[in-house]
Amino acid sequence: MEKQTQNKKKQNAVGIFFEELSKSTGLVTFLAILTGIILSGLLVAVTTVEVYDAFSVSFWDGIKEIFKAAWATYSSLFIGAFGDPTKIITAFQGGDGLAIRRAINPFFESLVQATPYIFAGLSVALGFRVGLFNIGAEGQLFMGAMTGVFAGYAITGLPAYIHIPVALLAGALGGALWGFVPGFLKAKTGAHEVIITIMMNYIAFKLTDFLINGPMQDPNEYTPKTPWIQESAHLTRFFGDPIRFHLGFFVALGVAFLIYWLLFKTTWGFELRTVGSNPSGARYAGINTTKSTIIAMSLAGSLAGLAGANEVLGLNFRMVPSFSSGYGFDSIALALLGKTHPFGVVLSALLFGFLRNGSRQMQLKSGVPIDIVSILQALILAFIAAPAIIRTIYRLKKPDIEEESIRVSGWGGK
């Protein structure tokens, strides 16, 4: 029942989606990504010892080695993200279930990796829409994971179709609390959300460390971990091992559409966007800017909290101290890449999910540290934020209408 209405929503969404997409400055975005990839590839080449060895042999050997390094990097990235085409074909020809699942796993695993990006990206994007920079998505994610895992293992005796929503809701609430604090402080005291949320991140890390090592530690384990969550709280998986693709992906898509609807089709969303665009004007129009700010940040926090809950309930089924993600920080680049629009965020999240999944394989196969993805993100983000750079490099013309650039408020101001 739930899935049917979700499918219907998605059909309308697809139509709207392409319409919104066609309005955006897609070319610059595409080129930004492309340029970022090229530069990152160069970085990899420059730091690969084999390249220097090759140059000492001959210039052309060096060039060949650069391309070899780049090819090795990007092909392992691609295979890691989508799967090896030859393996897929062979598996389907062979007909063995396990082999097939193994072959198509990379693709689905990328979707799995993209899911928390969708949530966290929506979180940061929502923050931008109300004029705030939510760097605290990471901390909110941690809090959501804690509360989600707690609801997962502490509540017993519920059937799955109740337990799953309850646990997800718990995760959302945990994140909402962590978003409420900076929202409240910003609205009431003008304290800049950038520093507050960064501080809240550190506090969240220490708090979760404390909880996992203490009150929430599984008494049966020797190393600090939380107990396993109940079976009934597991997010349903659709395929057998090793494919981990689970319900969370569809929840994320549904939530994305919900946020789209809230933001652009309701009075509440109108108020929020007005506050983000011009708080003075919003106040004159009778909008309660304090309320809008606080509610928006709390909602943003809850979205990031869902990201955390999604990880815990759908993948790990418990929480460990090394539960690190980096999803929260990556989502900043993601939200900006998606022009803070829910549909853009979904697309960017898919991109980042594929990148993230692929980069793990890349690190294994070609020894390139996964941090290269951070570098890639920073480059893409820089190009998106300063489209003039891309235009200069590729000699593009300026658009007729001025682009809406994203502005964030300064210190101590309201």
Binding site: A191, H192, D371, A382, A385
Partner: protein, 429 residues
């Protein structure tokens, strides 16, 4: 568009109106502190317990006797003082002195906490204060970097990233050459990164906060990338052995009991902090260079109409700020740990920004704020030693909680440079 002139009419009689709400809430806060001290610290300690403050830091030769006093009675007196202050504040209000009284009450609270935590044991107060000064150095230097940028009109949240890149670069260069060249390279690269920030914000008019975040993400990425690829591998270990700056005792001054070891027995970073605070203060407020720099951050159009090159000045400000941040960054490796580890700055760049705001964009204020945050930093570091029934993780949260409290309580009133964070558009008048 419809801009009115600069100010309203002057008033002969100034109706200063301390809002009732603030007076009452402050008064209640003071009383709460008194109550807290009474019920938690005094009741929690044995009546006959003694607090021992060791007044000589470990390893120092400037000896001073321990300061011992009975916990309960001393704290009662302090609680009494707070209660009196609270009552007075509620009834009359301290008006202009309120902030001063707030500072005193806060100090009393912290003192009581320490006394309670170490009753029946001892705590090395001198050591605690000495580490405070040490921890204050990178924060103050970072805050001054922020001041140079903001005062000239550029918001710089990338201090963290600049510190990180500089820490990495200086480590590698120092390992390959020597420690002084390493330090200089750290300064240079801080300036280079700041130049990029400048280009993005001044030339391409990217939002300052976004540009800063991009740099931070890039810095984290590239330092971790290069660190994983090289520094963590044994084959390249020689790249991660830069050495450290030695401690220098100021002759004669470092022998003064208590004060000496706290202020005059450090490596050069602490002395640099003091010297740079003095230099920057003089430069900003008494020289032509400083006047022009500040004008560009306050009202760039006014400066432009007087022939000052706003763009060049802004670049200069941000690059100097970057160099200062770079210098601060070298502290973490060349002045503290002697090696580079991923993300070793741990948010200090952001705390520097809070120190800058708290210090009201003034170098001396920044140092005061740096000392405050440094105190919390050193307290959380000594957490394990304190036999306090508070988990170490919570004590570790202290610098971050303190930052939040400061920003929430202070920033609403702090006025930064008027045109900071706004791109300068020549053609718009």
């Amino acid at each position: 568009m419809a801009e009115t002139s600069v100010t309203s009419v002057v008033r002969k009689k100034v109706h200063k109106h301390q809002t009732k709400a603030r007076r009452v809430s402050m008064g209640i806060f003071f009383l709460l502190v008194a109550v807290f001290i009474w019920f938690v610290f005094i009741r929690g300690a044995d009546p006959g317990a003694l607090t021992t403050y060791v007044m000589t830091p470990g390893g120092s030769s400037a000896l001073m006797d321990n300061w011992v006093f009975p916990t309960a009675s001393t704290l009662s007196i302090l609680a009494g003082i707070c209660a009196v202050a609270g009552a007075y504040q509620l009834i009359r209000g301290f008006q202009d002195l309120t902030n001063g009284v707030l500072a005193v009450v806060s100090v009393i609270f912290v003192f009581s906490f320490l006394s309670w935590a170490s009753s029946e044991g001892s705590i090395n107060l001198a050591g605690l204060l000495r580490v405070t000064v040490v921890r204050a150095a990178p924060l103050t230097l970072g805050a001054m970097a922020g001041i140079l940028c903001e005062r000239s009109g550029t918001v710089n949240i990338a201090i963290e990233g600049m510190m990180l890149i500089s820490a990495f670069a200086s480590t590698v260069v120092a390992s390959l050459t020597n420690i002084w060249i390493g330090m200089v390279s750290g300064i240079m690269i801080g300036g280079l990164v700041a130049y990029v920030h400048g280009v993005l914000t001044i030339k391409y008019k990217v939002d300052h906060t976004i540009s800063g975040t991009v740099i931070n993400i890039f810095a984290t990425g590239i330092t971790s990338f290069l660190s994983s690829k090289f520094l963590q591998k044994t084959a390249y270990q020689y790249l991660n052995e830069p050495g450290m700056f030695p401690q220098i005792n100021v002759p004669f001054l470092s022998k003064i009991p208590f004060i000496g070891p706290i202020f005059f027995s450090h490596n050069m970073y602490v002395y640099a902090m003091f010297i740079l605070v003095a230099i920057l203060t003089v430069a900003l407020f008494s020289t032509r260079w400083g006047l022009r720099l500040r004008s560009v951050g306050e009202h760039p159009k006014a400066a432009d109409t007087l022939g000052i090159n706003v763009i060049k000045t802004r670049y200069m400000g941000v690059i100097l700020g970057g160099m200062m941040a770079g210098f601060a960054g070298t502290y973490f490796t060349l002045g503290s740990s002697g090696r580079f580890d991923e993300l070793l700055t741990a948010g200090r760049g952001y705390i520097s920004l809070a120190a800058m705001i708290f210090g009201n964009y003034h170098p001396v204020g920044a140092m005061g704020a740096g000392l405050l945050f440094g105190f919390f930093d050193s307290l959380s570091a000594k957490a394990a030693i304190l036999k306090v029934p508070v988990p170490s993780d919570f004590l570790g949260m202290m610098p971050y909680l303190a930052t939040i409290v400061v920003l929430a309580g202070v920033v609403g009133r702090s006025q930064g440079p008027a045109a900071s964070g706004k791109a300068y558009d020549k053609e718009s008048l």
